[in-house]
């Protein structure tokens, strides 16, 4: 009996002493700087007093590793000018993109903790483990791999189906897309062309018509890039001139094809306007417009911009007498305007119409 009581007392004393003098281990950290599950387990396991222990952790960045590669194809568009009438057109390219999924690799380090005399203090040593790497975060990188003309393919632009030629230029023989026509409303400054091609990501091409030309700025928005500017593509200067032009001196002429005898209703034909500037001052943002009852002849804008002294400029539009026209004649009048006002010159035209 007395022995039992002594044994129990001794055990109790030992337990109380243990709880009073036990070390406080640091709280378990599931995150932080690279504590792996092994390290966590070693922390919770009973530790032999005065023995060192090790954990693995991340070291310096080594390199990236491509773990996956995907391919994608996109349509890219640019403005171009096509003959024979110097009309703007879209030139399409097939661009191949490679999408690389990469992971960042770091050195694998072994961290050795050696406790000191006092269990609360110790030293850390790091040892690089060759042959082992720490895998970090992943990312994707897209790279243009190459491009080629999107040739002889059917594309859909703003809902209109058209074909491209050998050079990727969108052909529009029936003037369905009518890029110039999209800007015939004087208030329209921007038109978006949504381009779709088979098995490729579609793309938006935002085309601008800026009259007069904006002042040059260091920081330009995407909508001010020249590759989207119609008048730049046409090679026209629409900067405002400081000096007043001699409007009355301009010589203006309308030119039809040499073999033109009549207008076939429903068939487009080219109307070229020629402006010659014999004066000593250049014109400023010169444009012309047609007025007619026929919708296919009405409202066509012709762009000349700055016509320098002695220079002659021409601009062509494709016009049509509508199939629904019943009369045997079609009339139109062309009027001119620049940044200084209305020109007195005008061109009345009358065509014979064949149905």
């Amino acid at each position: 009996m007395n022995k039992s009581i002594l044994t129990i007392a001794f055990l109790l004393f030992a337990g109380i002493a243990n709880s009073l003098f036990a070390q406080d281990y640091p709280p378990l950290d599931e995150g932080g700087i690279g504590l792996s599950p092994e390290v966590l387990r070693t922390l919770t396991a009973p530790q032999p007093k005065h023995n060192s222990y090790t954990t693995r952790c991340k070291g310096a960045f080594l390199r990236t590793k491509v773990v996956n590669t995907k391919k994608s194809y996109k349509v890219a568009a640019n403005l171009t000018i096509v003959e024979p009438f110097q009309q703007p057109a879209l030139k399409l390219e097939r661009q191949e993109y490679r999408i690389y999924t990469e992971v960042r690799l770091y050195e694998m380090l072994l961290r050795i903790f050696t406790p000191g005399e006092d269990e609360n203090h110790g030293t850390y040593d790091y040892q690089r483990l060759d042959g082992e790497v720490w895998e970090g975060e992943t990312s994707e990188r897209t790279v243009l791999h190459g491009s080629s003309p999107l040739k002889n393919i059917q594309v859909n632009i703003n809902g209109i189906t058209l074909m491209t030629d050998d050079k990727g230029v969108v052909l529009d023989p029936e003037i369905k897309l009518d890029i110039l026509g999209s800007f015939d409303d004087l208030g329209t400054r921007k038109v978006n062309f949504f381009i779709e091609a088979p098995e490729m990501e579609p793309v938006d091409f935002p085309m601008n018509r800026t009259m007069p030309k904006r002042q040059a700025k260091d920081d330009r928005g995407i909508d001010e890039e020249e590759r989207y500017e119609l008048l730049v593509a046409l090679g026209l200067d629409f900067a405002l001139s400081k000096g007043e032009p001699e409007q009355d001196a301009l010589q203006i002429k309308a030119i039809l094809p040499t073999d033109f005898a009549y207008a076939q209703a429903g068939t487009h034909f080219p109307l070229k306007l020629q402006v010659k500037n014999p004066s000593t001052r250049q014109t400023s943002c010169l444009i012309a417009r047609t007025f007619s009852r026929c919708p296919g002849l009405n409202g066509k804008l012709f762009y000349f911009g700055a016509v320098r002294p002695g220079e002659t400029k021409e601009f062509t539009r494709m016009i049509v007498v509508d199939k629904t026209e019943k009369s045997n004649t079609a009339n139109l009048e062309i009027r001119f305007s620049d940044s200084w006002g209305i020109l007195q010159q005008n061109l009345p035209l009358t065509f014979t119409v064949i149905h």
Binding site: D185, R289, F291, S292, R293, K326, S327, E333
Partner: protein, 358 residues
């Protein structure tokens, strides 16, 4: 006729009296005064009869059913009233002259008692006549005013034919929105005839060329406007114009039978985009109404489209509009002419048996 003779006789007597006064005056005798008064009395009675005819006529006018008959009777009454007013004024002048004669007669001599009685009776009667005349004049002038208004507000005739045999028909959607329009677009012959009347200085060769031009090509807006202006002048001041866009809504039924597109004029109902373009380029535009799509298909619901003002097409012509007063005036002119012709015929056969005997 009798009254006319009486009036001539009286004025001769007055003339003689005046002559007699100025040179040495010949005083009428008392017998002559009595005769004069009798004439005045008869004239007054005659005018009273005419007045009662006018009363009856005005009363019957309100009971007349037909608009045409009302218009005709109104014009007749108006003329009658004018005649009665004229007769009363004449009567008043005669009475004034007679009063002067009595004054001179009384001033020149010692009147007999009987003469005094007669003369005083005459003066009383003249006063009575004067009051009756005043009342009659006021009534007649008021009646004339009302008749004028009635004639001016008569329902316009459904159609009438103007100069150059151009027929106009009435378009009336409501009381406040009525006008006349030519039944059809003007023919080439009509256009040429009007143009010829407008330009008497042109020689035959030039006219032939113009006629050919109208025939082959049609008419532009500027020419249509000139023709409308010319017709307006010929209508005696009533404006004659091309139809306006605002009138197109009222012309829907009419438009379905139009064999051509026609020029419009007046205020234009343009889209903002078009307005801006016209302003920017200093362009003027004309408007055409093409309800039967003679020029070509179009999207406009009201069939009004823009056209260059100098453009010409054989399928494009012009119609003219005028105000409802033009129709009323035309109708009135026709009735007055008929009444004049009837009056002339009556005058020519208007000899009483006594006058024939004389």
């Amino acid at each position: 006729m009798r009254r006319l003779l009486n009036a001539i006789l009286f004025f001769l007597l007055c003339g003689v009296t005046l002559f007699a006064q100025s040179t040495p005056q010949v005083m009428p005798s008392f017998q002559e005064l009595m005769s004069e008064f009798t004439i005045l009395q008869e004239d007054h009675t005659e005018n009273q009869k005419l007045l009662s005819t006018v009363y009856t006529g005005l009363k019957e006018l309100t009971q007349t059913a037909s608009n045409d008959a009302i218009l005709e009777n109104s014009i007749k009454l108006y003329r009658q009233i004018s005649e009665v007013i004229s007769a009363i004024q004449q009567e008043q002048e005669q009475q004034v002259a007679f009063k002067n004669t009595i004054s001179r007669y009384s001033g020149d001599r010692q009147l007999l008692r009987q003469e005094q009685t007669y003369l005083s009776h005459y003066l009383d009667e003249l006063q009575k006549f004067g009051r009756e005349q005043e009342g009659a004049m006021a009534y007649l002038q008021q009646a004339q005013k009302q008749l004028s208004l009635r004639i001016a507000n008569m329902p316009p005739p459904p159609r009438f034919t103007g100069n150059f045999d151009i027929e106009f028909v009435l378009i009336a959607t409501d009381r406040n929105n009525a006008f006349y329009i030519t039944k059809e677009p003007l023919s080439q012959e009509q256009i040429f005839t009007i143009w010829k009347a407008m330009h008497p200085e042109l020689n035959d060769q030039e006219l032939q060329k113009i006629q050919e031009d109208f025939k082959q090509k049609g008419i532009c807006l500027y020419e249509a406007r000139q023709i409308a202006a010319c017709m307006g002048r010929l209508f005696g001041g009533f404006p004659c114009t091309l139809p306006s866009e605002a009138q197109v809504a009222a012309l829907r039924e009419y438009g379905q039978t139009l064999p051509k597109a026609v020029w419009l004029d007046g205020k234009q109902n343009l889209e903002p985009v078009e307005k801006e373009a016209l302003l920017r380029f200093g362009m003027t535009i004309g408007r055409v109404w093409d309800p039967t799509a003679k020029l070509g298909a179009h999207q406009n619901r009201n069939a009004v489209i823009s056209e260059i003002p100098w453009a010409k097409y054989p399928e494009l012509g012009c119609v003219l509009t005028t105000v409802i007063d033009a129709g009323r005036a035309k109708k009135r002119a026709i009735i007055e002419k008929l009444l004049d012709e009837t009056a002339t015929q009556v005058d020519q056969t208007d000899n009483t048996p006594e006058e024939d005997a004389q």
